[in-house]
């Protein structure tokens, strides 16, 4: 089943008078349950592609189907709901809210999806337990190591059981030991049937994926279709 399908995806940026084309017709299919790495030099458009796949941004042209739904034409407020229910983000710099305990951080997506406080807490505790942080629930993010913080971020990304897990250089800020642990978690999540899309420029990291999609100058160099 195709979880992601884009046809001739185009994204233009207006920088004053100059129009910059970041994506120049991306055709991409990702099957449910795949582990995909997106690679490319900086400025290639891989971040833009990620933002569109993650419904943080809308394309200037072309279609994007997520889970069979055409989402590229949806208005902003509808995209918020899609991000909440179907997408889990993991960022390079963790992006945890520094003033909240890690439990509260993980509860956030559930709060925005309208779960009751009890359900939220229960689910968040369960997920944090599964990433090995059950003894740190009340800690603030800055009391944790980088690797632990990224595990909190992963817990937050998967707590709402999204359709896809989007990770943007998830090991970029970590030492190789912690980075390895994090990649292990992604491997586990993948083997449990989750769709994982990871943006990276590290070939060793990308090698963990089933497929590598190489982007260059807003176009897919190779890897646009599975298999």
């Amino acid at each position: 089943m195709e979880i992601i399908k884009t046809t001739n995806l185009i994204k233009d940026y207006n920088l004053g008078k100059v129009k910059v084309r970041a994506l120049d017709g991306i055709d991409l299919v990702i099957e449910a349950g795949e582990f995909v790495a997106i690679m490319g030099p900086s400025g290639s458009g891989k971040s833009t592609l990620m933002h569109i796949i993650g419904c943080l941004d809308s394309p200037s042209g072309g279609d994007y189907f997520l889970d069979g739904d055409l989402v590229s034409k949806l208005p902003r407020h509808a995209l918020a709901g899609i991000r909440n229910r179907k997408i889990g983000f993991v960022f390079q710099s963790f992006n945890l809210l520094p003033h909240l305990s890690i439990l509260k951080n993980v509860e956030l997506p559930l709060m925005y999806s309208g779960s009751s406080p009890r359900t939220r807490r229960h689910k968040a505790e369960e997920i944090l337990n599964s990433v090995g942080l059950s003894d740190r629930l009340r800690h603030k993010p800055n009391e944790l190591s980088g690797g632990q913080r990224q595990r909190v971020a992963i817990a937050r990304a998967i707590v709402n059981t999204p359709s896809i897990l989007l990770a943007d250089e998830p090991t970029g800020n970590l030492d190789s030991q912690a980075g390895g642990d994090i990649l292990e978690i992604f491997n586990n999540l993948h083997s449990q049937g989750n769709t994982v899309i990871m943006v990276t420029h590290d070939p060793a990291v990308a090698a963990r994926a089933d497929r590598i999609i190489q982007i260059r100058d807003g176009l897919i160099d190779y890897g646009s279709i599975a298999g």
């Binding site: 933002h51 993650g54 943080l56 941004d57 902003r76 407020h77 918020a80 709901g81 991000r83 909440n84 229910r85 983000f89 960022f91 992006n95 945890l96 809210l97 003033h99 909240l100 956030l108 997506p109 709060m111 925005y112 999806s113 309208g114 937050r156 709402n160």
Partner: protein
């Protein structure tokens, strides 16, 4: 799928708790503004209350007074006094009045008992004075109609006068000399005492009454102080509304009695009360305006600090958007936070205002009345400020583009 108000409140409280000092500084203007409003409302309420108390003590709101018209230009002629005959006519025209008492006073009469002198004010009155002043003798009796008709040489003493001449002994049955007239003491008025909350009015605001003597109006006119003019009449109506009606009825009558010259002014206590209330409201309005300026400045300060705080929290907003917060959720989050801060400032202001009421009241020597509804006014004002000045920051926060917000360092 939405964040409930309770949830937003929870976030707001947490945000404020996190930034205690900043929140406190932010809200200083509101605290001071609300405090000002509290104090001013308390002063106005206090002024109104002591005016009302005073009015009630002096005959209540059912009183109508005919007195010298200070605004009349006496070069146009006219005599600002009544004869006894004119008064009798006036009284017969208003049978609906409960009490009718003209007063003339003589401050130059010499009063003597044996070898003791006393410089007491001597007042010629009708029996109705008791009703007008709501004041009765506690020994003997007061002047009656017969005394007035017969120009009787009788006198009722104020308690201070009685004590001066007789100490603890009963003055009843004794006689005193007023000018060259031998006057029999028929009664002693009860001790008059009224303690106002208004310190300016002294320990016993009505003590001057205890230093007076009362004799029949006719005796005063004909024997003690001939030629003294009757220029003041106090009338009590059945109720305050009737007093207003009576005042309207009396005006043309008095005018006609005085040949169309406005030498007298007819006024009702209700009107005086309304005027006092109006002037205290104007006074209050001026200070509330000053407080409003403080609140406005406070609101602008809050708006700017919130705008700055949003700049600082751009990344947080980006993260919230990425994990599914809608624009509305972000808008409500910041709106609630601003309103919470201003409401908190309002609560502090109310507390502070309440705490300094006594201090300010003591300093100004004015009675202050704190009423429960002031708290609602102050709270409503501070919440209103939050609602108004919270809009711009909340709109700015909720309009952030998630991609740009996430890029922010």
């Amino acid at each position: 799928m939405a964040v409930s108000l309770a949830e937003s409140l929870h976030i707001g409280v947490a945000d404020i708790a996190m930034r205690k000092v900043r929140s406190l500084v932010t809200v200083l203007g509101i605290v001071l503004g609300v405090m000002c409003i509290m104090v001013v409302l308390a002063i106005v309420a206090g002024m109104n209350e002591s005016t009302l108390n005073w009015m009630q003590e002096r005959g209540g709101l059912s009183k109508v007074e005919i007195g010298y018209n200070w605004q009349y230009d006496f070069r146009k002629g006219g005599d600002p006094s009544f004869t006894l005959a004119e008064l009798r006519k006036l009284q017969s025209l208003i049978p609906e009045a409960r009490a009718f008492n003209p007063t003339i006073s003589s401050w130059r009469s010499k009063t003597r008992y044996r070898d003791k002198y006393y410089n007491a004010g001597c007042f010629g009155v009708f029996p109705d004075m008791q009703i007008v002043e709501n004041w009765y003798p506690d020994r003997g009796r007061f002047i009656n109609e017969l005394d007035v008709r017969e120009n009787n040489n009788v006198v009722v003493l104020g308690s201070a006068v009685a004590e001066h001449f007789f100490g603890k002994r009963s003055p009843l049955g004794h006689s005193i000399m007023i000018n060259d007239q031998m006057m029999q003491i028929i009664g002693v008025m009860s001790f008059k005492y009224w303690k106002s909350e208004n310190q300016m009015w002294g320990e016993n605001a009505l003590d001057y009454l205890n230093h007076r003597m009362y004799i029949p109006l006719s005796t005063m006119l004909n024997k003690i102080s001939p030629g003294t003019k009757i220029d003041q009449v106090e009338i009590i109506a059945e109720n305050p509304d009737a007093a207003v009606a009576l005042k309207k009825k009396l005006e043309p009558i008095v005018l006609q009695l005085k040949d169309g010259k406005r030498v007298f002014r007819v006024s009702s206590a209700q009107e005086q009360m309304d005027q006092m209330k109006q002037s205290s409201m104007i006074f209050g309005a001026i200070f509330v305006m000053i407080a409003a300026i403080s609140l406005l400045v406070g609101g602008i300060v809050i708006m700017n600090i919130m705008l700055a705080s949003i700049k600082e929290r751009t990344r947080e907003i980006g993260v919230r958007l990425a994990i599914g917060a809608r624009r509305r959720d972000i808008f409500v989050q910041f709106m609630v936070q601003t309103v919470l801060i201003t409401a908190l400032g309002g609560v502090f202001g109310i507390g502070l205002g309440y705490a300094i009421l006594d201090v300010v009241g003591g300093y100004l020597e004015m009675p202050m009345v704190a009423r429960f509804d002031m708290i609602f006014v102050a709270l409503a004002v501070s919440v209103g400020i939050g609602l108004i000045f919270g809009i711009a920051p909340a709109v700015k926060a909720s309009n952030l583009d998630p991609v740009i917000a996430l890029r922010e360092e």
